[in-house]
């Protein structure tokens, strides 16, 4: 585990700079250097008068799944909130200004509710066993290739593989060159296209 700083709480007393054996706490971007941080040292955590530093764990426990009845209720609810969220979001595209605000707020509110239900159905963190199941069952790849037949779900597979490898080694994923068409949602890996290969839009963003 390594230390991380909550900038919102940091009052710049700098005792963490005094106490750190490796200098990991002194960086140009305000965040502690995880590579230099000594696993479990916690001198800075204990020294900070504002309690602005915490320890980030790299291994997480597997939890038992909720009982079947809970799964059923929460899954049903999240499906309904997902529908509400996406329809409110779609409606917000060209509504009048207060109505647009209402639609966006309802979309965001239901997104939060749905995500909460997702967490309470055994999908709390990426490490959860269910995620490996989800990735290996190809359900996301198949869904993607329903829209983008030409891709056959390969870009989604590549992304999920990168994530799974990182999870198995309890680390962050390697940085990826990945690009998204904002018009249709098509994903391109490795080289930034001048326009979307699927819909020819020029609105292609890097991640």
């Amino acid at each position: 585990m390594f230390a991380a700083r909550n900038i919102a709480l940091c009052t710049k007393d700098c005792i963490c700079l005094f106490i750190c054996p490796t200098g990991a706490t002194d960086t140009e971007n305000g965040q502690i250097d995880a590579e230099k941080c000594i696993d479990g040292c916690r001198l800075c955590v204990d020294a900070c008068p504002s309690h602005a530093i915490y320890l980030v764990h790299q291994r997480y426990p597997q939890r038992a799944y909720p009982p079947d009845e809970v799964m059923e209720v929460m899954t049903g609810l999240l499906a309904r909130k997902a529908g509400f969220y996406i329809r409110a979001l779609t409606a917000a595209d060209d509504a009048s200004h207060v109505r647009d605000t209402l639609y966006r707020s309802l979309a965001l509110s239901n997104k939060v509710l749905a995500e909460d239900c997702i967490r309470e159905t055994g999908h709390m963190i990426p490490e959860a066993e269910k995620i490996r199941g989800l990735a290996s069952s190809h359900v996301l790849q198949n869904l993607y290739s329903d829209t983008f037949e030409e891709d056959e779900g390969k870009s989604v597979s590549a992304i999920l593989n990168s994530i799974l490898e990182a999870l198995m080694e309890n680390r962050d994923a390697v940085p990826a060159a990945a690009f998204l068409c904002e018009a249709c949602g098509y994903i391109v890996l490795d080289n930034k296209p001048k326009k979307c290969p699927h819909c020819s839009s020029k609105s292609v963003q890097s991640i």
Partner: protein
């Protein structure tokens, strides 16, 4: 046994929206785990599925008038109030799953607020928001507040004001 969530993605009504939300949930989780590259990959998938889902829903949404759409939203909330949220007192307590119980209690209160805001908009229209007011959504529980600034503490989940996102009306 198959993961019911996976089943919902395969056979449910809004698989793209659900796939997007599964990914956005992990975008946030990995962000909190300080895994920035992993977070970006989940964000990419989340946004891709969200864009596809919106495209998929375009015809359905555009074919309804605003009044029809608002009515279906209100009915959807009322349906959940009569089923999943009504059961929460008995169901989740009996199952002794306190996490699910928390999600149902918060969800029930937030849904009541959503319905209240919806009803007020249906009655007041653009007068719902006075000059300088915005809607403020709590990122921890989904509570919607109206005002010039967010509440100091979320009335539903007690998160601080810093956890609110402002949804600001665009100028005409």
């Amino acid at each position: 046994m198959e993961d019911p969530l996976e089943g919902m993605i395969k056979t449910g009504e809004d698989p793209l929206a659900i796939a997007g939300l599964v990914c956005s949930n992990f975008e946030q989780a990995s962000q909190k785990q300080q895994r920035e590259n992993m977070s970006k990959l989940f964000a990419l998938l989340a946004l891709s599925f969200e864009i596809q889902a919106r495209e998929n829903n375009m015809d359905r949404v555009k074919s309804q008038s605003d009044e029809e759409l608002l009515a279906t939203f209100q009915e959807s909330i009322e349906h959940d109030q009569q089923t999943a949220y009504a059961d929460s007192e008995n169901g989740a307590r009996k199952m002794e799953h306190r996490g699910a119980l928390r999600a149902l209690i918060w969800g029930s209160k937030v849904s009541a607020i959503q319905k209240s805001v919806l009803k007020r908009y249906r009655k007041l229209g653009d007068e719902l928001l006075k000059g300088g007011q915005a809607m403020h959504v709590c990122q921890a529980c989904g509570f919607i507040g109206i005002g010039e600034v967010p509440p100091g503490t979320c009335p539903v989940c007690k998160a601080p004001a810093s956890r609110f996102v402002a949804v600001v009306p665009k100028r005409r």
